[in-house]
Symmetry: none
Subunit: 89 residues, 2 copies
Amino acid sequence: MAIDPDAEIDHGAPLTPYRQLAEILRARIRRGDWAPGRAIASETQLVQQYGLARSTVRRAIAVLVESGEVFTVPQRGTYVAEKPSSEAI
Amino acid sequence: MAIDPDAEIDHGAPLTPYRQLAEILRARIRRGDWAPGRAIASETQLVQQYGLARSTVRRAIAVLVESGEVFTVPQRGTYVAEKPSSEAI
DNA sequence: TCTGATTTGTCCGTATGTATG
DNA sequence: TCATACATACGGACAAATCAG
């Protein structure tokens, strides 16, 4: 059961908003919205797109950083990590 | 993994443009585009070649000045430093 | 001496994005 | 939600010095 990359945040769902967003972003990366090495949407854009607080968006990103799927560069943005065993650039 | 001397600036990359340019210039010097004691391209030329603001170009040059790879002469240009332990002039 | 082109030096303001409270 | 701070990037403007003619 894959998560819908185009899903929206459901504040009434059992899963907390930040976990929902983490799953959505994960699905969007898998779909190819942002290629490895490229920046995902900025925090400001995600705040506007999903109607969440900045702190919530940052928490969602932190989940993906924790799992090594993305990495944040200070004063630059959040980037999709390169796949471990995949085709070279 | 050597940096490509012919690379272009990628504004979407994690590395900031001025750092990218610093690496490119470093690679070009190593390649021999400009010999030790010779002036590298002027700030204006670099602005045109790489599509960056002059302040960004200057910041990139500052990186190389900081590391002693080049030195700037006011109203003259930026020159490639002589190699520390190399053949004399 | 003068003029114009070139080059670096310096400052301004605006915008974006993250970091923090 | 709001505010502030910091780093980065861009664009513009002007100054000062150099050099060629």
